[in-house]
Symmetry: C2
Subunit: 156 residues, 2 copies
C-alpha cells in the first residue's frame, strides 16, 4: 500500500535522526499527488529551534520546494500523532489529511508532554500556566483594521 510506504519513510526518518540522542524521535513526510514533496525530522536541539518539530520542518521543506505556503491537497505522514503546535501548523498549511503511527499516549510514555499543552489550549488565560496580559488594544486593532482595508493585501 503506497500510503504505508510513506508512513514507513516517516518512521525511518524518526529512527535514523534520533538514534544519536540529539534529535527527538519524530519524522514526517508531506505527499502531494502521490509524490513526496517534503521531509522533516525533529531538530529542536540540533538547530536550537523550539519550533523545529518533525511536522513543522516537513511542512517548511514542502512549502520551500513548491514555492507556496498553501499545501492544499497534500497529505502528511507522521511517525507519531502531531502535537498541538504541529496540528495547528497543518491547518494553516491547509492540509486536510494526517496519517500517523504512534499515538500521543505513546509520546507521553516516552516523556513528551503534548497533553498538557492541549489541555491549556482549552483554558482561558487566568487558568493557564502561561501568564497572559492584554494591553494597548486600540493600538493593536489599528494595524489589523489597516490590513483589512488594504486593497493590496494577500490573504493566507
Amino acid at each position: 500500500m503506497p500510503h504505508q510506504t510513506h508512513l514507513r519513510e516517516a518512521i525511518r526518518l524518526a529512527a535514523e535522526h534520533s538514534s544519536g540522542g540529539r534529535n527527538g524521535p519524530f519524522g514526517a513526510v508531506v505527499v502531494k499527488d502521490e509524490v513526496v514533496v517534503g521531509r522533516g525530522w525533529n531538530r529542536v536541539v540540533e538547530t536550537a529551534d523550539p519550533t523545529a518539530h518533525a511536522e513543522v520542518t516537513a511542512l517548511r521543506d514542502a512549502s520551500a520546494n513548491l514555492g507556496t505556503h498553501d499545501l492544499t491537497g497534500g497529505v502528511i505522514y507522521c511517525s507519531c500523532e502531531p502535537c498541538p503546535m504541529c496540528l495547528s501548523a497543518i491547518y494553516w498549511a491547509r492540509i486536510r489529511k494526517v496519517v500517523f503511527s504512534a499515538t500521543a499516549e505513546d509520546a507521553a510514555a516516552a516523556g513528551f508532554d503534548d497533553f498538557r499543552i492541549l489541555e491549556e489550549m482549552g483554558l482561558d488565560w487566568p487558568e493557564r500556566t502561561v501568564e497572559g496580559t492584554q494591553e494597548l488594544r486600540a493600538e493593536g486593532q489599528k494595524v489589523l483594521k489597516a490590513w483589512k482595508e488594504n486593497p493590496k493585501k494577500i490573504q493566507y
Copy 2:
C-alpha cells in the same frame, strides 16, 4: 513603562511589515532580562512558509541569537493574541509570560480564523475537519521506546 515599549515595538513591526499587503499584520518581540533577544513578523506569503507567523519567527530569532531552544525566563510581546500554533510554540520554548495587544476576536474580525483551529484542538479525530488515520502503531512505538532507553538522549 518598559513592557509597553516592547509591546509597541511588536505593534510597530506588525505595521511596518504588513503595510505593503504581502505579510500578515502581526509582530512579536522576545525579551529576556529586559533585553530584546528576538524580533519577528508574519512572513507566511513572503517566505512561502505556513509556519512563519510573527511569534514563531520571533522565537526562532531569539533561539538562534541565544544558541538554545530553551527560552526559560523570557517574555514574548505580541501585537495580537497568539494563535494555537504560536501559543503551543511558546510553551515548547518554555516561555511563561505573554503580553499581547489586539485579541483573537480582533484577528477574526480582520479575517484570521484562529478560533476554528482552537475549536478543533478540543475535538477527537472523527469530529475534526482534518482527517486523521492511525496505522502501524507498533513500528512507531519502537522508535519512541528506543529513544526512551537511549542513555545519550537530550530531553527538550
